[in-house]
């Protein structure tokens, strides 16, 4: 691993533990490395039963009849529940995160292959699965809508006839920017380039599938739910609303989570089935999806067909960008995004460039495919936006015969323009793009690579160099603009310092591998001077943590990280008053050095935070008006999103005989503002870059013409391994966020967002000798070979 970040002395001995920000090993790792993580599937309760779900084998059909008698007769089966039974309970349908409804169990029709039709609760997982085979469902198969381009044809079958008066498959139209102004710029521009760009449907495919254990206590009317949730508090409120259970009687626990990537933001029918199963049987019920269920029924991502247009002057001044998007949302609109943003934050498709105008029009439609449109580490659709702009800028460079780096630098928003309001209304908080780009160029040896490319091309070899530059918008979000189903996106945080100076910080966000137990301890440590090892981070249990909206969209550090810093400062402010009493000086005469207050000009006279904690809880008087104890609570409402950026450079080689792409090098320079734990940041970046290789080169959830999902196993839906990725070369610049208390910006998804265009740009660059300007993902050998013969095909 190469990095420009100097590792502090002692790192190699694994003993570097800063009091505050800095590189330190993750506090949670010993338990994961020793196999002592505690995941939902590890939860075992006395008398626990198991739930299995019967799913539709076809994409679109009317349910004629369901016969469950044979399944009910199975000796180990405790309950069989169909949509009809749920209708009686008023639970057959549930709200999605974007104001649509989704069937928990199909009542009238099935609308995608893999849709939930019935469930069985049995004594063990095997019996539950066996009993599914005993349920007899008669389907009247209907024509499916598979090709999103024909979904709005008047002749297309109407998928959502459950919605009153619905006559077509239209979900919404959405636009942003100024159509007329953009048209005016395009009409008079020297150069206009347009390209059809597809971002195929992909799946988060976390290592741990979704699941839960529901325990409904009939005596106490109390529901405890261990679940794979990225947002336990939001889920609790939604269960209260959907199931009519009182919220104070619901406890949602998200224990260790084996990867989420956005796929664990929504509430899936399976969770509701397990809850109903527990209510019906009076026993705890576990439901754990299998791999195929996860890939075929839980939230997918992307699936945008985009027409991108860019207008520029002949000498490479970008003037305007315009796009028309057709969005495939599947059978139910289950997009997870703040309510006012049906297309997520796609509005940042203007990228990192200073434009005169921009416009986007989007149409979203239903198809007979799994619902979703969730994150997959996309920061609410910024993956699609960045891919569009970074691909179309390269198309422009191609037409202008300009170096893609030069073109980008020429059009960057300048440092003195921040805060910068884009033509679609986003206010970028801070940025200094050119140094980040230059650092990446330097790390990559860009000039040298271009020279090498000339030589190789002369020998008939196919080498490509791809560049992308992204600006992300993360940390949702200001409650005046952003809510999910009416829940504001502010986060609570609570900090208690115990008498001996150890502390516990309680957060609403939920780690799925991001290292929260370390990062948040470090944030508090930096502010209050207690070593991270002495700070316990509690998360993932609604009974033990304050309310907040959870971890996705790279929001944890921008929102909860700010909350953690501010709550620590609040505690420190109180500690200062107590210290003034202990040292018998006025507050103004105290100076804070990390971990202690001392009297100005007399460093010998000091008290540590640990001394203060003991005094706060101990005997003796405290300064007037000060209560005992050393703790605080806040709720942080972000003023704006944070806007991290980065410059990525990818080098690929393509075998001219077989069209196989090899990613030779990848340089990633990220700017996420203040860096709390550089090792964790690098880990996040490595993960995202690997994701990018997957999406660019192999991942896609495809369907046949009958709507059968062709990606239902990891044999069919490929995700990259260590052998497909190069030795990542990372670097960084630091442009703090002006409004975040410690200047930090999010970074969890930057690499997922920024890497696909760099890789695709590299492949397309390698294919330049064939006159190729664009080729769609996934760039499998077969599809690259098509491109080499001049017939690049869209993947859908």
């Amino acid at each position: 691993m190469t990095t420009t970040d100097e590792r502090p002395a002692g790192f190699e001995n694994n003993d570097h533990k800063p009091i505050g920000h800095g590189r330190m090993l993750r506090k949670e790792d010993p338990r994961f490395i020793r196999g002592r993580g505690n995941y939902v599937d590890d939860v075992q309760l006395p008398g626990m039963l198991h739930c299995a779900i019967l799913r539709s084998p076809v994409a679109h059909a009317r349910i004629v009849s369901i016969d469950t008698s044979a399944a009910e007769a199975h000796p180990k089966v405790k309950a069989v529940v169909t949509g009809a039974a749920l209708t009686e309970l008023g639970l057959a349908w549930m709200p999605t995160l974007s104001g649509d409804v989704q069937a928990v169990l199909a009542t009238d029709k099935v609308r995608f292959q893999g849709q939930e039709v019935a469930f069985v609760v049995a004594e063990d997982r095997y019996a539950a699965r066996d009993a599914l085979e005993l349920i007899d469902v008669e389907y009247d198969v209907l024509d499916p809508v598979v090709d999103v381009r024909t979904a709005l044809d008047p002749s297309a079958p109407v998928i959502r006839d459950d919605l009153d008066g619905k006559q077509n498959n239209h979900i919404f139209d959405w636009e942003t920017g100024d159509e007329a102004a953009t048209e005016a710029v395009f009409a008079s521009a020297d150069v206009v380039v347009s390209e059809d760009i597809v971002y195929p449907r992909v799946h988060p495919a976390p290592m741990e599938t979704c699941g839960c254990v529901a325990e409904y206590d009939r005596i106490d009317s109390r529901l405890t739910l261990w679940s794979t949730s990225q947002a336990p508090h939001a889920h609790r409120t939604l269960y209260a609303i959907v199931a009519g259970l009182p919220e104070h009687k619901i406890r949602v626990i998200s224990p260790d989570i084996g990867g989420g990537f956005g796929g664990k933001v929504p509430i899936y029918p399976g969770y509701v089935c397990a809850i109903v199963g527990s209510i019906v049987t009076g026993k705890p019920v576990k439901w754990m999806e299998d791999r195929s269920e996860n890939l075929t029924s839980t939230g997918f991502a992307r699936d945008y067909i985009m027409r991108g247009e860019i207008a520029a002057t002949r000498d490479g001044r970008i003037l305007a960008v315009r796009t028309n998007v057709l969005a495939d949302h599947g059978a139910f609109n289950g997009v997870a995004a703040p309510v006012k943003y049906p297309a997520g934050f796609f509005g940042v498709f203007t990228g990192s460039y200073d434009l005169q105008a921009a416009y986007c029009k989007m149409t979203a439609v239903y198809t007979n495919k799994a619902p979703g449109g969730v994150a997959y580490a996309c920061s609410f659709r910024i993956t699609e936006a960045v891919y569009l702009i970074e691909r179309i800028v390269d198309c422009l460079a191609y037409e202008l015969e300009m170096d893609p780096v030069e073109l980008r630098i020429k059009n960057f928003i300048q440092p003195d323009q921040f805060p910068y309001r884009t033509k679609t209304g986003w206010v970028y908080d801070s940025g200094d793009y050119e140094p980040t780009m230059r650092k990446a160029l330097e790390l990559a040896g860009y000039e040298e690579l271009r020279r090498e490319q000339v030589e190789r091309r002369a020998r008939g070899e196919l080498m490509g160099i791809g560049v992308s530059f992204f600006t992300e918008a993360v940390g949702a979000g200001p409650r005046k603009d952003m809510d999910i189903l009416g829940l504001g996106m502010a986060d609570g945080c609570e900090l208690r310092v115990h008498p001996t100076g150890k502390a516990v910080v309680r957060l609403s966000v939920q780690s799925q591998g991001q290292g929260h137990e370390t990062t948040f301890a470090q944030i508090v440590a930096e502010e209050i001077g207690i070593p991270p090892a002495d700070i316990d981070v509690v998360h993932g249990d609604t009974d033990q943590t304050p309310f907040g909206l959870g971890t996705y969209g790279s929001r944890s550090t921008p929102v909860s990280g700010a909350a953690a810093a501010l709550v620590a400062r609040k505690v420190r402010d109180k500690a200062r008053i107590i210290a003034s009493g202990m040292l018998e000086v006025s507050v103004a005469d105290l100076e804070w050095v990390k971990g202690a207050f001392h009297v100005k000009g007399d460093p010998e006279k000091s008290v540590t935070i640990q001394d203060i904690a003991m005094r706060a809880h101990g005997a003796g008087d405290l300064p007037e008006g000060i209560e005992g104890g050393l703790e605080a609570q806040i709720c942080y409402n972000p003023e704006n999103l944070t806007y991290p950026h980065g410059a990525y450079i990818c080098v690929v080689d393509i075998d001219p005989g077989t069209a196989q792409v090899k990613v030779r090098r990848f340089v990633a320079v990220d700017d996420c503002g203040t860096r709390i734990n550089p090792m964790i940041i690098e880990g996040q970046v490595h993960r995202g870059l690997t994701d990018g290789v997957g999406m660019a080169l192999m991942e896609m959830i495809a369907f046949d013409e009958d709507g059968n999902c062709l990606g239902g196993s990891l044999m069919d839906y490929l995700i990259p391994t260590a052998l497909e990725v190069p030795d990542w070369e990372t670097g960084f610049t630091v442009t703090p966020s002006p409004h975040h208390p410690i200047g930090a910006k999010g970074v969890g998804e930057s690499a997922t967002v920024g890497s696909p265009p760099a890789i695709v740009n590299a492949v397309v660059d390698a294919l330049k000798p064939f006159g190729i300007r664009h080729a769609d993902m996934p760039l499998t050998p077969s599809r690259v070979w098509d491109a080499m013969r001049g017939v690049p095909r869209p993947p859908v």
Binding site: R125, R291, A659, E724
Partner: protein, 291 residues
């Protein structure tokens, strides 16, 4: 977790015991060797045998690689990993090591067997292509004794072999001829994936001319395919780039790929040509290196 349907399980203690069980239980029983093809199918409930006869305890009896003067004999329970690591085998038939390097991953290779690979009869199976390339024959044993069939006779269609319900594959025999070498080329979408197309080649030189040559392809037809037309075109000729090109063209013409998630039929045909040429070139280079 994907769970299989109920199944009875018994461990065989000898080949005769296994065959006895197969005779008694009939078509409802399946042998499980490495389990890396059968168990995934059972978990997906694409296969639901009533009985499993586990032959892993027969590794002592059927796990061997015997390199003899005129013949190499490999037991059906020989694991991928043993084929990969055998220096003796790589010496005579480097095609085995080439192929094993790109079959699945270490976890699968630790358990998966030669016999299981051949009996699975997946059209993309790499070891079947290797055995076809080398003109192997298969020793099948039943209650009535042993019979030996060629690879062409062994395969009856996708997932179908000449092994009857109460029979087992016990051994593969490969003739050793002087002056030869071999190689394997595979294109996959990702490490550990099945082939988009793969090609094995074996060449025997005599006085600078090709005395014999064989090519076997995987994933371009109902079974791994031997290509007599290619052998005919190569025999008696001097190795050259034009000849590889010609052999590749013949290979492409004589296979029947279909379009699927791994690639288009056109692309696979192109690969059949490209990889045939590469495998032949490498085989000849190996002979020449050896001097």
């Amino acid at each position: 977790m994907q769970v299989p349907a109920p199944v009875e399980y018994e461990r065989a203690t000898s080949v005769d015991h296994a065959i006895g069980l197969l005779e008694r239980l009939g078509g409802a029983a399946r042998i499980v060797a490495g389990g890396h093809s059968l168990l995934p199918m059972m978990k997906l409930r694409l296969a639901s045998p009533e009985y499993l006869i586990d032959i892993n305890d027969l590794h002592g009896e059927l796990g061997y690689i015997r390199v003899e003067q005129a013949e190499v004999r490999i037991g059906a329970m020989t694991r991928h990993r043993e084929l990969l690591e055998s220096g003796e085998l790589a010496e005579v038939f480097p095609v085995f090591r080439d192929a094993e390097r790109v079959i699945a991953d270490p976890v699968v290779r630790n358990r998966g067997t030669l016999g299981g690979s051949l009996c699975q009869a997946d059209p993309s199976e790499d070891l079947s292509a290797v055995c076809t390339t080398l003109g192997a024959s298969c020793v099948i044993r039943g209650g009535a004794g042993e019979r030996v069939v060629t690879m062409e006779e062994f395969y009856r269609g996708p997932y179908e072999t000449a092994v009857e319900d109460a029979e087992m594959l016990v051994e593969i025999r490969i003739p050793v001829r002087p002056g030869g070498s071999s190689a394997y080329e595979k294109v996959e979408r990702r490490a550990g994936d099945w082939a988009i197309v793969s090609a094995g080649a074996a060449v025997w030189l005599d006085g600078g001319l090709i005395a014999d040559a064989r090519v076997g392809l995987a994933a371009v037809g109902p079974n791994t395919t031997g290509l007599p037309a290619v052998s005919d075109a190569l025999r008696g000729r001097e190795p050259s780039e034009e000849l590889y090109e010609q052999a590749g063209t013949l290979a492409a013409e004589n296979c029947s790929p279909v379009t699927d998630m791994r690639g288009s039929a056109d692309y696979k045909r192109h690969l059949a040509k490209e990889l045939t040429g590469r495998a032949l070139r490498r085989s000849v280079a190996r002979i020449n290196e050896r001097g």
